[in-house]
C-alpha cells in the first residue's frame, strides 16, 4: 500500500496534508492489534483530524447502499468518525488525516506516549515529516521517497486533476470524476465543499484529505490551466 506516498504536488502543496497511519505486521505484532488500532483512531479524534479511515471500509464519508428519493436533500455531508471506529472489525491499516502540522505533531507525541507497538508512519512532505518527528522527539527510522510519475506521462491529465485524484493512491478517485467536479465548481453547479464530499466517498481507505481537496478546487476554479 503506497496509497499516500505518491500524491501529486510540490512540497508546499502538502502544507495542509499530514497522514499518520498505523499498521501491524503479520507474524510480528498483529496479536491484539485490533484493539490498538481502534484506540489509535479514538486518540486521533482528540486532535482534530479531517478524515479517519481503515483500508477495508473507507473513510469518514461513505457511500450509501439504500438511498431513497428524499435522501438527496438530507445527505450526510459531515464526516462520521465514530462510524469508522465502530466499524473496524479486521486488523488492517488505519489512518488519521490532519490539515495542520501542529495537530499532527501533537497527535504523534500522544501516539509515542501511548506506545502501541505498531508501526507508525507519517506521509507528507519530506520536511514536514522531519519537523513532526523532531517535535515529537522521534528519530526517523526509515524513509520512502516518492520520485513522482514517469514513463508515458502523456496519458496523465492536468495538475489540478492529478492533485485531486492521487489523494486516493489506489486509484478509486477517477481522473474523470475529479475533472467533472472541477468543471462543476467552475460552472457554479456545486460548491467546493459539496464536490469534496462526492470525491471523498470513493476513497476506500479514508486517506483522502477534504481540506486540501477544497483548496485545490478553489484554486482550480479560477485557474486557466
Amino acid at each position: 500500500m503506497t496509497n499516500t506516498l505518491h500524491r501529486f504536488g510540490t512540497a508546499d502543496s502538502f502544507r495542509d496534508d499530514f497522514v499518520i497511519f498505523a499498521i501491524a505486521s503479520r507474524g510480528k505484532n498483529e496479536q491484539g492489534a485490533l484493539d490498538k488500532l481502534r484506540e489509535f483512531l479514538r486518540l486521533a479524534v482528540k486532535f482534530g483530524p479531517v478524515n479517519l479511515g481503515d483500508a477495508r471500509h473507507g473513510g469518514a464519508l461513505r457511500p450509501c447502499r439504500n438511498m431513497v428519493p428524499t435522501s438527496h436533500w438530507k445527505r450526510d455531508m459531515k464526516p462520521d468518525f465514530n462510524a469508522v471506529i465502530d466499524g473496524l472489525d479486521h486488523i488492517t491499516t488505519v489512518a488519521a488525516v490532519f490539515d495542520d502540522r501542529v495537530k499532527a505533531e501533537d497527535f504523534l507525541k500522544a501516539v509515542k506516549a501511548r506506545d502501541f507497538g505498531l508501526s507508525i508512519n507519517i506521509s507528507t512532505s519530506v520536511d514536514g515529516a522531519d519537523q513532526c518527528c523532531h517535535a515529537a522527539g522521534i528519530p526517523r527510522h526509515s524513509v520512502g521517497y516518492s520520485l513522482g510519475f514517469e514513463g508515458k506521462t502523456e496519458h496523465l491529465p492536468n495538475s489540478h486533476v492529478l492533485m485531486l485524484s492521487t489523494m486516493c493512491g489506489h486509484g478509486m478517485v477517477a481522473n474523470s470524476l475529479a475533472k467533472k467536479m472541477i468543471d462543476w465548481v467552475k460552472e457554479g453547479r456545486r460548491t467546493p465543499e459539496q464536490a469534496v464530499t462526492y470525491l471523498a466517498r470513493f476513497c476506500s481507505c479514508g486517506v483522502f484529505n477534504p481540506s486540501r481537496a477544497k483548496r485545490i478546487l478553489e484554486e482550480a476554479r479560477v485557474s486557466t490551466k
Binding site: M1, T2, N3, T4, H6, G9, S25, R26, K28, N29, Q31, G32, A55, P63, C64, N66, S71, T92, T93, V111, F116, G117, L118, S119, I120, N121, I122, S123, S125, V126, D130, C133, A136, I138, R140, H141, S142, V143, G144, Y145, S146, G148, F149, E150, G151, K152, L156, L162, G169, H170, G171, M172, A174, N175, S176, L177, M181, W184, R189, R201
Partner: protein, 281 residues
Amino acid sequence: MFINPDKCVACGNCTYVCPMGAIYIDPQVRRATVNRAECVECYACFNGLSQEHLNPTIVRTMRKVFQMLRLRFDPEPDVCPTAAFEPDELVWPRVVRRAFSDPRVPHESTGVEGRGTEEVKTNDVSGRVQVGEVGFTIEFGRPGVGVWFREIQTACHALARAGVSFEKKNPITSLMTDESTGTLREDIMNEKLMSAIVEIKVPVHRTEEIVRLVWEIEKQVDTVVALGVGTRCEDTGDETVVASILERLGYTLHRAKTNTGLGRITNMLEEAKPESVGAGQ
C-alpha cells in the same frame, strides 16, 4: 463487472467514476456498458457509487420528458439511481484483475490490502531494508492509466537481468514461475490491472544504476511508473546518502513516507514474555 441493462437508465454517472474509463453509453442499446477488456475489476463503480432503487421505467420516462423540454436536471453525480451494478463471478485468470485493483481485497500472498506491499512501512519490525540497502517500489499503471501483465513481465525480465533480488513478500513475486529470470505465469499475460508494484532491494551503491534501468524500462512499456525509494535512516534520524544520489539524478524530493520506528515485535513478547526485541526505536 456487469451493468444490468434492465435496470440501467443511461444517466451516465458511472462513466465518470470508472478509473479506467471503461464504461460508456452504448448508442445502440442506450445503456451503460462495460468494456470488459479494459475493465480491471476494481469495483470503484460498485463500491463507490451510492445506490438508489428507483423504478427504471419511471426514471427513463422522466429523463425523456426533461430531454424533450430541453431542461437540464441536476442529479447527484455519485449515485446509481437504479442499483444496476452486478459483480460477475470472477474465475482464473480474470480474478487477478480484482486482486490487484480492488484495494479492499487483501492479497493472499501477503495478507495486505491495497497493492499488497509493506515496503518500509513496517521496516521497524521487519528489518526488510537495512543500513546500506535501498528498497525500490516500482509501481506500474499508477495513476489512472493501468497496466497489462505482459508489460510487468517486460520490466521483471529487465530487472532480473540486472541481477536484483525480488522481494519475497510481494504479490508480483508470488506470481513468478522463475524468480531468477523474473518470469511470470504465462496464463495472466493478457490481464489488465489498475497498478502493480514490483519490489526489489539492492546495495546503496547500485541506486543510480537501478534508477537508470527503470528509465530504460519506461521506454518499453505504454504506461506510467511511480517510483518509490526506501532506505534506513541513521540512528540520529538523518538520511543524506540516498537523497543526495536522487537529487544528483535530477529528482526534487517533494514527498516521503516516514517510518517513525515506534513499532515493536510484540507477538513474541506475548508468547514468551522475554525482554523487548523491539526493532529500531
